[in-house]
Symmetry: C2
């Protein structure tokens, strides 16, 4: 037996007990003829005391950091107690020891603040995983996993495994494919999600399904994307949107309670996609702080229900505003005293290519009630005051105004708002604010192909009130220039995203469950009948045999864990992540394979251009 | 809201309640002006009563089998109660109904005894999954999953996800590979198991790991093999074999209790690999019944510790026995009265190519104490009696004797024993007998390459007493003809299989955790240093940084579920299985992919020979 107890287990109550411990050497400290070793395992750290009688043996078998050690001894009360660790009242008076394995010096220190850079830590991930910081992340991940499973189980959901070797039906992202040796010239695809299978399970009557499941997307990796990622994937039958929202609010609240001991009792806010874009410039707004956008000018076709207040800025002969499609103001609280240097820096910030604006207009709402702006030439104090009022600015605030093309300006405004929120410390990592974003557009317009693209995915149902519009109109866009006038442009999706602190943590929809509507959707995406049949014939077929109304949601498990752990990086919450080129640098994958393997798989490498 | 209750929920206590139900139409029965419909969902069946007032509406909207229906109504006490179903005391007096979706006639009946053949049921798997028989299997699967997770959680195991896109290191089975678009000419492999990753997690100090995880093997599919399958995969640090056996006996007993409500209190038998082969001809013996093999003659190098009793058959000038390497007898209880026709049939059975024996010798141990055999010419009554005694035969038994080359004869004896056990009803599907098989040989001999092959896998440790033999000898086999004399031939593995009713349900080992020993192992398998470094450099490296003693086990989840469900077919316990050509006939995968995809992946199809 390698141990009677773990390194986190012994207390003063065990005083005098003969024990055996095994673990890793965290530190070795020698004081004259006495040696102290901190022995570490997953459960904690226990101090070992090697008295003089073991000196010869220690000299013959020197012990270093990260050695694997087994010791026998008795539990002693410490003279010098350490209140910081649970085992701090005791130490083990070692009677004998065995070195189970040696260790060379690690390439970086196994500590919370390691001296290892990203690359070296990834190459030696098995050592990085020893660090307490990383271990805590994986423990949090497991507790989220466990909490979600328990909640779903208690609510009658069943974990049903769906296949990994499926068929390539690339819609949005690229599929990873797997050549089939037994079916020469044919390929499996790895699932981007179990979407169609979980829908089939609903057709089969399984009613409530879940899976914590790996998914795969062969995309060019932006920072913090992984080619394989994990979803908490769920589907329910006989539900409307409200049923789903309530069920999964429950899930997330349960996770908060189990994992963070947070009672999330607030009502979870709901916001339409249009309002999110209008007020935050973003479909996943961070609502931990205010600073909502003030739309001084905007394209009326995009926000047709909103009030036009462009009179506030019109007629001043200020070309920047006059020529812009969109003008958006943000009132930043308490920053009216920003120096010239500070406002210049902000101007530089918005002019960076990632933001891409031409400049920044600002209005200082001085504490004495006066205004000072970068456009004093065009706007007198009364007009500045009117703008400030519209923007909800108070005395002492600084109004920042961006102008330009709609999409870029709105995105820049969103970024600027988040940036200022960060600067002002308004985005607290220990504060959690959930939000449902609802009523997304069902379609986006694909200019190149002059057709529709499903914004969420092709299985998302329109809002019940829009189903007739979808069924009764031809999806073909006759006049590309006037695509906005096509009835499909205004169809809303019966879809919902759950947003946490400005991150989308989950998304889903009520699904189409009628063959006719599903065919309309496929047709809108430019698929003819043959292609529909080839790719999704099984699903269209299934809808003919009694498909129930159903809907679901998938949570991005990696991201959810990262946010709960107070981090923006999902990589820290994955045991063996890949880098931005999709490589696992530890095992050095992907790699070349044998010619024999290629031959068996009936494929050859294309000549690679150098 | 689509429903206030499920179809399995309402009882007499709910009498008078106004309810809404949704589900599928199981049956429609018309009695004069009244129509009864059985409405089905995952939770049960509820009888609906459509009274005369709904006749017009029913005629305008005829309802057929598998239609999806929503009804409003009140809970009535039935006049004609059905004690067979939990809702049998009530029915719903329907006030209004909505057809949520229609259904065309299913291609087979959705019943326990369906009229659908295998192929049609696989093509319409979403309908097959509606059948109660299949649903019960998936429910059992989920309850095994849940039970295993709970036990492992309570024992401090952590679910840690390992990657699916890894590196191809084909040892035994072929890897499925995935071309990398971002790394042209390179491939990922799908894991055959998370073996090296779980070992790295032990090196990282995670101590107790588990995963219920998909694994992939590109093998020619024998009946009841799947290219993707699920393992309950576990690993522990600071353990010896005994620790693992005790922990996972606990797991399996817990599953028996949770899933089958069976208290498995018997001690789980343990048997060495040699004894299993000796007594049962098989390394996964079904010990629900006796009929052990009696080894009348055997190769002494294979069973060097066993007693030679060949004198019992020698010197009788019976060429079949004299020329055979191996002679094995089985005493079949109570079959001495078998007719000539019956013994002829048995002879034909062993001569089938799958068994491949030349013939069958039998001795009838008559109830009057006399003997009658097919070899009376060679053996007198005394000798027959001596053989019968050695075989443990009683009066009334039939002794069956096979003779031939060792491997084939032993395998045939095992098959014959199982066949007779089946015939005699000794293999009861509701009886469960667990067994540990221990002390496997570490190596097998690969004749073609004149080298060793790891019987289990290259990470399995030898028995502690064999480590020195392994370290201190050169693995190279100098003299192929005498490979049996090489010291490696007798090294035993520190490995264990768990066997249930004659099926291997789990297997594992104590792992090598020392670099030197691991290098010896790789060398024995014919890998030079460069190949070791290319394939497993990360693992050899990891062993230098303080690897703890560790070991683990993996359970074949699909098979475990099948046996617990009383079936031999794993396919019935997988939601969406593939057929014997590795095809999913429902979604029609694998399939061809676009040239664009091939180009992006830098691969081409080889010319396929017609």
């Amino acid at each position: 037996m390698f141990r009677t107890h773990t390194c986190g287990e012994l207390r003063l109550a065990n005083k005098g007990k003969e024990v055996t411990l095994s673990g890793w050497v965290q530190t070795v400290r020698k004081f004259g003829s006495i040696t102290f070793i901190d022995l570490r395992d997953r459960y904690g750290i226990t101090q070992l005391l090697f008295a003089e009688n073991l000196n010869n043996q220690l000299e013959a078998n020197p012990i270093g950091r990260e050695y694997v050690l087994q010791v026998n001894g008795s539990v002693n009360e410490r003279s010098n107690k350490n209140a910081n660790i649970p085992t701090g009242d005791i130490e083990i008076l070692v009677s004998s020891f065995t070195i189970l394995n040696k260790a060379v010096t690690p390439p970086f220190t196994i500590q919370d603040d390691t001296d290892g850079g990203d690359d070296i830590r990834m190459k030696y991930r098995f050592l990085d995983l020893r660090r307490n910081a990383v271990k805590k992340n994986l423990e949090l991940r497991y507790s989220v996993n466990r909490s979600a499973r328990n909640y779903l189980h208690e609510n009658n959901f069943m974990d049903i495994e769906t296949p990994f070797l499926i068929k390539s039906t690339p819609e949005g992202a690229r599929d990873f494919v797997v050549p089939s040796r037994m079916n020469p010239g044919q390929f499996y695809a790895l699932p981007q999600s179990p979407q169609t299978f979980k829908q089939l399970l609903m057709v089969s009557g399984y009613d409530r399904y879940y899976q914590v499941v790996k998914c795969f997307r062969d995309e060019d990796l932006r920072a913090d994307r992984q080619p394989e990622f994990t979803q908490i994937d769920c589907e329910m039958s006989f539900v409307e949107q409200e049923d789903i929202l309530m069920m999964f609010e429950g899930l997330v609240k349960r996770i908060f309670k189990d994992v963070k001991n947070i009672d999330y009792t607030d009502t979870i806010e709901r916001m339409t996609w249009e309002n999110a874009m209008w007020m935050y410039g973003n479909d996943k707004p961070d609502i931990r702080f205010g600073m909502k956008l003030c739309n001084l000018k905007f394209p009326s076709h995009t926000f047709s229900s909103q009030t036009d207040i462009s009179a506030l800025i019109n007629g001043a002969d200020f070309k920047v505003f006059d020529e812009a499609e969109t003008v958006i103001a943000i009132a930043v609280p308490g920053c009216s005293e920003y120096t010239r240097k500070q406002t210049d820096e902000l101007t530089e910030w918005v002019k960076r290519p990632q933001i891409g604006m031409k400049g920044l207009v600002f209005i200082k709402c001085n504490t004495d009630g006066t205004y000072k702006s970068s456009v004093d030439k065009f706007y007198n104090a009364d007009r500045l005051k009117a703008i400030a009022e519209a923007a909800g600015a108070n005395k002492g605030d600084l109004i920042l105004i961006l102008a330009g093309a709609e999409e870029r300006t709105r995105k820049a405004s969103s970024e600027l708002r988040l940036y200022m929120g960060q600067q002002l410390g308004l985005r607290r990592p220990d504060e959690f604010k959930l939000l449902w974003v609802l009523d997304f557009p069902l379609f986006e317009y694909a200019e190149e192909e002059n057709r529709w693209v499903a914004r969420h995915h092709p299985f998302t149902s329109p809002k019940p009130s829009d189903i007739a519009t979808m069924i009764n109109n031809n999806p073909v866009i006759e006049n590309a220039a006037e695509y906005l006038k096509h009835p499909y442009a205004n169809i809303k999706a019966n879809a919902y995203d759950m947003v946490l602190n400005g991150n989308e943590i989950g998304g889903g929809s009520i699904r189409i469950f009628q063959r006719e509507l599903q065919e309309k959707m496929f047709a809108a995406l430019g698929m003819d009948e043959a292609e529909q049949q080839h790719k999704f014939g099984f699903l269209l077929g299934a809808f003919e045999y009694g498909a129930p109304p159903h809907g679901g949601i998938a949570f991005g498990f990696d991201r959810l864990c990262a946010i709960l752990g107070g981090s923006e990086s999902i990589r820290d919450f994955i045991a063996f992540p890949k880098n931005n080129s999709g490589r696992d640098v530890m095992i050095d994958a992907p790699a070349t394979i044998d010619d024999k393997q290629l031959t068996e798989l009936n494929i050859r490498l294309a000549e690679i251009e150098k």
